[in-house]
């Protein structure tokens, strides 16, 4: 199989690492060669963060380049906009319909663009979900990333049981149940 390219983008601290590790785990379970690339250090401090997951029969480079992503998972609208050009023409853009103002917007030096999703829908297949609100309903707003992942999982070739197993092996033991529940919310949307 030619390598499948997945990108996860968001704001440092939103849990992109956990999500990319679940994605790496699922690809491994599918018997593929897998490479993941993460961001640590200063960029993690509230900055724009990108992680890459690539899997297939044989994967060389650990990064996804412009125009190559099959699935782009964005944890925030502005980050979806920033990285949308990494998608293949027929790629899927899964986006958390949530706004976090970057510092230039907070201090009034820039404006948060209006109508991001509407604009993106003209060019890409967009699957938007307000995962943060959905996660609050579950009682833990931090599980929003599993909801977004659940939506993305609809566009990937793994069974629900496979996802469950990887979630169980990846998230902290105490949070397995809530994370599986969150995944379900996204998977059935």
């Amino acid at each position: 199989m030619a390598a499948k390219n997945i990108m996860i983008v968001g704001v440092g601290g939103q849990g992109t690492l956990l999500t990319s590790r679940i994605l790496g785990g699922i690809a491994l379970q599918g018997g593929y060669d897998v490479k993941l690339s993460e961001v640590h250090g200063m960029a993690q401090r509230g900055g724009s963060v990108v992680t890459f997951v690539r899997y297939g029969d044989d994967v060389a480079e650990p990064i996804v380049e412009e125009g190559q992503a099959d699935v782009l998972i964005a944890f925030e609208r502005l980050e979806a906009l920033r990285y949308a050009h990494f998608l293949k023409p027929d790629g899927a853009l899964v986006v958390n319909d949530w706004r976090i103002d970057p510092m230039p917007v907070v201090i009034g030096a820039a404006e948060y663009p209006d109508g991001i999703l509407e604009g993106l829908e003209k060019e890409y297949k967009v699957y938007a979900v307000n995962a943060t609100e959905e996660a609050k309903k579950l009682g833990n707003s931090r599980t929003f990333n599993l909801i977004v992942l659940g939506v993305a999982a609809q566009h990937m070739d793994f069974t629900k049981e496979q996802w469950y197993e990887v979630i169980e092996n990846t998230v902290p033991p105490k949070t397995i149940e809530i994370n599986k529940k969150a995944f379900d919310v996204g998977y059935t949307l």
Binding site: K35, S37, E61, E79, H85
Partner: protein, 576 residues
């Protein structure tokens, strides 16, 4: 497995017994992953990279396999022992893992460790994925012991923080080498070092010769139109972009295998050299009269990619969409960060800050913009001292030095000694958040815990400052902004050295449920005071209404203490 995890695993399998490091992105996780092997590998956080390297040298002299781990700029701190252990050679094998940061994801410069290694005449081994990272560690120790050389194991951010598949093997129990006193080899005074210099030149020549047949270097003959010499992560980009090309992949990048390279060059029509950062391989290869193309078409900055190679070598026109226009999102201090509170006060007082390396470097970012300088670890205190000696004590009445707890213990303490010795009068703020924050919360000599999390002696920073001779040592809670303001005012005015320690733990350290604040629109006068510190959890709507994002607020209360109208209130339990 993460590249860093694979290096730790490789060290474990290679029978390493001692490892020492100072945290530095992208090298930090190597030591953290070593903790799981604590029954077999002693690993520690040292206060700085020089100390860590010397710990590794000591272990090597005593006859065991050892390593020190650091980021590229850490090697600058460790270069003193490095240059001389190069003369000494090893007893037990010794490796210094150095992680470069092309693209400056989390560093103050983009230096190339291979240049340092050439200057120090130290062999360099470079893997190109996690599997090689693990296997090459073992080869590094074999080479170290066979050729009596310390070895630099070079990685880059992309390798250190990428995951790939790795096959695990058992640990090899390596018998300790006997220690035999040999003053000529281990006491580097002029007479001995002069002889050792001759010896290491010989050893390096032997290694360079052996490099022609070492299996660390690999020729992949394919179509001969394009030949590429490469190493490390760029090898993966070459494979992705030029699957048809012939490739000479170097695993040992210093010294270079001259014969192997010349033979390869003779077999291909056009030879390219693809290496991130400096033209280290290229300049040597060209100096032998070999025709090659390198930095004529490639940059010395940042990371490479397969697309970059397609464009540069194949002259392919890529049809890539322009990125959308979107406001930038630079890194910032976290919501609830105690540094924000300190910088708010410094800004209010109109003070300049000589800054240092850590999360608090972000005090240079708008709207705080307090930090004036950031150079290297420990430089805040010494550069403030330099300003005073240049311009006099009144000049620095509107300056302070700002440094973190871990950085203070790293090299800042030397600079404070200098201030006392040389009759300075400046004010130093130690932002003590009880951890090494930026690199992801590592313990240090003042946290009371070892790398393994075991309890240990905690250095008392205030007592240390007093022992150096500082009379004015004041401790203040970072969030008590009134007291902090008063303290800074008073201490800066004094004609004596002052140290103000704001001891407030990093907000990310506590997992306890935190209080939550909300804005009350009815009481809000839209004055904007609460927005001044630039908290990312707060947004101002177009009409000036303030909102607090309840998923981000950590309940530090800074906004509440700035609001004069009671328009920010604590959310009661049960209403959340």
């Amino acid at each position: 497995m993460l590249g860093n995890e694979a290096i730790a695993r490789g060290a474990y399998e290679a029978g390493v017994k001692v490892s020492a490091a100072y945290p530095g992105t992208p090298s930090t996780e190597i030591s953290e992953y070593l903790v799981q092997y604590k029954d077999d590998v002693y690993a520690e956080w040292s206060p700085n990279e020089k100390v860590a390297t010397e710990v590794a040298i000591g272990a090597s002299v005593s006859g065991v396999r050892s390593m020190a781990c650091m980021k590229h700029v850490g090697l600058n701190v460790a270069s003193d022992p490095l240059y001389t252990v190069s003369y000494m050679g090893v007893n037990g094998g010794m490796m210094v893992v150095v992680a470069d940061d092309p693209g400056l994801y989390s560093s103050q410069n983009e230096q190339d460790t291979r240049m340092v290694a050439r200057a120090a005449q130290v062999p360099v081994i470079e893997p190109s994925d996690s599997a090689e990272a693990k296997d090459f560690v073992k080869r590094a120790y074999e080479i170290s012991e066979q050729f009596d050389r310390p070895v630099i194991f070079r990685t880059t951010t992309r390798l250190a923080h990428s995951q790939g598949l790795v096959t695990l093997k058992d640990r090899e129990e390596i018998e300790d080498k006997p220690y035999v006193k040999n003053i000529q080899k281990t006491v580097m005074m002029p007479g001995n070092a002069k002889l050792r210099h001759v010896e290491i030149e010989k050893r390096n020549k032997e290694l360079a010769e052996a490099a022609n047949t070492l299996n660390l270097n690999r020729v992949e003959m394919n179509d001969t139109k394009i030949g590429v010499i490469t190493s490390g992560i760029p090898y993966q980009y070459v494979k992705e972009a030029l699957p048809e090309a012939s490739v000479l992949k170097l695993g040992l990048v210093n010294p270079l295998p001259r014969k192997l390279i010349e033979d390869f060059a003779a077999k291909v029509e056009t030879l390219y050299i693809v290496e991130e950062l400096d033209p280290v391989i290229e300049e040597q290869v060209k100096s032998w009269g070999v025709k090659a193309i390198g930095k004529e078409i490639f940059t010395v900055q940042g990371e490479y990619s397969a697309n970059m190679i397609r464009q540069a070598i194949l002259k392919e026109e890529l049809h890539i969409k322009e990125p959308a226009k979107a406001p930038g999102r630079p890194p910032i201090l976290c919501p609830g960060c105690p540094h924000r509170s300190v910088y708010y006060v410094l800004k209010k007082l109109g003070l300049h800050a000589a800054g240092d390396i850590g999360c608090y470097t972000l005090g240079a970012v708008a709207p705080l913009s307090v930090v004036d300088t950031t150079i290297c670890m420990g430089a805040s205190i010494s550069s403030l001292h330099g300003m005073e000696k240049a311009k006099g004590k009144d000049y620095i009445k509107n300056w302070v030095a700002v440094i973190g707890d871990s950085t203070f213990l790293h090299t800042g303490v030397n600079s404070l000694m200098n201030m006392m010795y040389n009759k300075a009068t400046g004010t130093v703020l130690i932002l003590d958040n009880s951890t090494t924050g930026m690199t992801g919360h590592q313990d240090h000599a003042a946290t009371g815990k070892t790398l393994q999390g075991d309890p240990t002696w905690a250095i008392d920073i205030p007592a240390l400052c007093r022992a150096i001779g500082v009379k004015n040592v004041v401790e203040v809670n970072a969030f008590d902004i009134d007291l902090l303001e008063k303290t800074v005012r008073e201490e800066v005015a004094k004609d004596e050295v002052s140290v103000i320690i704001t001891k407030t733990p990093c907000v990310l350290l506590s997992k306890a449920k935190k209080p939550l604040y909300r804005a009350v629109p009815d009481k809000c006068k839209k004055c904007g005071m609460c927005m001044k510190p630039g908290c990312p959890a707060m947004t101002k709507d177009k009409d000036g209404t303030i909102r607090i994002d309840d998923t981000m607020c950590t309940g530090c209360g800074l906004c509440d203490s700035l609001c004069k109208f009671g328009a920010i209130e604590l959310v009661k339990e049960g209403e959340r």
